[in-house]
Symmetry: C3
């Protein structure tokens, strides 16, 4: 696995254009975190220009929060596949309603996703398991814990092999698996669940790293997960020191990505690969 520092440095040198078809709730944060990381975001989502727009990009992010843009995601995704541009999926609340189950199935049938980044309930659903979850949040029953780590890794790995892409599961523990190897990350903080868009922003970061490192989407996803977790900790330290709340935390989180150094990332990341 390419080390994290190298991936971050490469992202900043290459400044990949990351095309995002994403939801209106967190679209601004997603654009700003891509800019913070060193990438260049494009949020064009109109189906009439989806294919043309993605052709000039280095990565495509499809976020199912924008459920009404599923058609644009499929067109852009197919085009990206044909051009070997990495495609990342965020299957927001995929098991939650019939509409989302249908759109999720259409997306997976029509597009090859180089990385799928979801919470534990979304990934369990895609893996064909029973999943709980409420709104856009993972159900407590589905959470990846130290106790069920091995079985969660096996589930993510099996889904990776089935889809031929990398699976990233985020939560208190984060998992990234390509079916052969799985990395577990023990960074982040609870406040990340108290802002909207933690998941969407992480998926956008995965897109940015994949745009910089298209030849190794497993390493790219690991670097994004590591960066997000470390920056969550940096923002939480600031929040505790200043007595601020979730809104400042969101701002500090993006700032932390902006200021993240390769050394910080290497020193603070806590992970193991198995």
């Amino acid at each position: 696995m390419t080390d994290f520092a190298k991936a971050l440095g490469r992202l900043r040198r290459r400044a990949p254009l990351v095309q995002c078809i994403t939801n209106f709730v967190t679209v601004n944060d997603c654009a700003n975190i891509i800019l913070a990381a060193g990438g260049s975001p494009s949020m064009a989502h109109d189906i009439r220009e989806a294919e043309e727009a993605v052709s000039g990009a280095q990565a495509l992010v499809c976020n199912m929060g924008a459920i009404e843009d599923t058609g644009a995601m499929i067109l852009a995704g197919k085009r990206a596949n044909s051009l070997n541009i990495p495609v990342v999926l965020d299957p927001v609340a995929v098991g939650g309603t019939q509409l989302r189950r249908d759109c999720g199935a259409r997306l997976l049938a029509g597009v090859h996703f180089d990385v799928i980044r979801g919470n534990a309930s979304e990934i369990r659903f895609l893996a064909g398991q029973n999943a709980s979850g409420s709104g856009v949040d993972a159900g407590r029953m589905d959470a990846v814990t130290e106790q069920n780590l091995r079985s969660a890794a096996a589930l993510a790995g099996a889904l990776a092999l089935r889809t031929g892409g990398v699976i990233a599961v985020s939560g208190q523990l984060d998992l990234v698996s390509d079916g052969r190897q799985t990395a577990v990350f023990r960074n982040g903080c609870a406040t990340m669940a108290r802002i909207t868009g933690s998941g969407c922003m992480l998926t956008s970061l995965v897109g940015a790293f994949c745009g910089a490192l298209p030849e190794d989407c497993f390493a790219a996803a690991c670097a994004a997960v590591a960066a997000m977790g470390v920056c969550g900790e940096l923002a939480e330290a600031r929040r505790l020191k200043n007595g601020t709340g979730n809104a400042t935390f969101r701002t500090d989180l993006i700032d932390a990505v902006f200021n993240l150094t390769e050394q910080q990332l290497l020193e603070k990341v806590k992970y193991e690969v198995f």
Copy 2:
């Protein structure tokens, strides 16, 4: 009336899922203030999943800023009514254009709203009075003042009786009425009118409190109005101390909700019931 502190404590223990069909201008702030208060926001607005999505929620917020989603609001609202899930309406600029007058009439005809939260011009319009207002702001002529407090309360009370729901009027003075009792709140600050989304965020907070206290939407609306006013003052104190502006004020306002304690709320709220 259940006291405010109890309502806040209950919101944090119950963490209600609040379904919002709301506008793209302030949707991110609405989600973050619900999270700050202890709730869980879902911003799904697609008409194809509106009914299914609301079925798992503890409250529904319909914000007419999303005028194009009126159909989804009506479907979701009817479903929420049938399930006894509280429904809150923000009649954004309802008197401003023919489209908004029509959509407002359709919403009121199709859905029972447990709380309607608007500015003075919007509430005057719904009450069948002449209203001024410009863009999304209340007209100066319509403002609730110490001078016209009794007649404004009577107007809100009459609308409450006609709709069978609670009416909350926000401005320099805030009123909450269910037609039998009216509470007036004297918190807040002028900077709240210098950010976009003060009204939308308050409506979202009303939804969060109603989700936690569905048996008493009058108390829930009062708690939300009190919390917003108190947090506006806390954020304003910070702004004056730090010399910041409206953008930091918005962040500090949400932070204040995040950190609000029951004791702060009780100590700082200024209100009377008549």
Copy 3:
């Protein structure tokens, strides 16, 4: 040219209602910067109310990031033209895709724009020149520099004469031309390119100033460009002092507009007219 300080003072006294048909990525920032400057934003974009909504406004901003609302922009723009309400265009990524080229042509054919504010690539495209650009950013080849300043001014001036409106080109150097006179501004900072919405916010500010100064859109555009550049420097000084990042910079930028005094603007603006 009316001096900048007077324009700012007038904006704050008149508090113009600025109707914006703009994109979902930066709409919240656009509304908040208009409020910061002293204006009143309305972000209604539904084609069914576009004409009625603009009739009560003092300025209209059309932002092609909302490519799906091109029809609403044309209706509202024609109405604004007939009422002598200034109309401002932000031709976001106009040369980037066939859809955008077509929509740009439809907008220019259907509406008279009092000001067009774009980056160097967008303005070059509208002027019929070859343009690069990637996503929403200007191409490095197209940038206005001290070396090509005169030819860039000539190009902007020619476009101004052709369209009969003012042309504002933003980048490291900013140009404003009405075809007879051109002002060049040397304010701002590189971090403005590391947040999403710098351009959209500037265009919104142009709308706010035009709403306050409809009789002189050249002066209004100059005042907006000056204010944005000066506030960018103020926010950058804060960022360097506090070690923050792009997200805090965005907040500080809007705050700086909120707190900007006429004296600050006059003291810090660096420009010449030729």
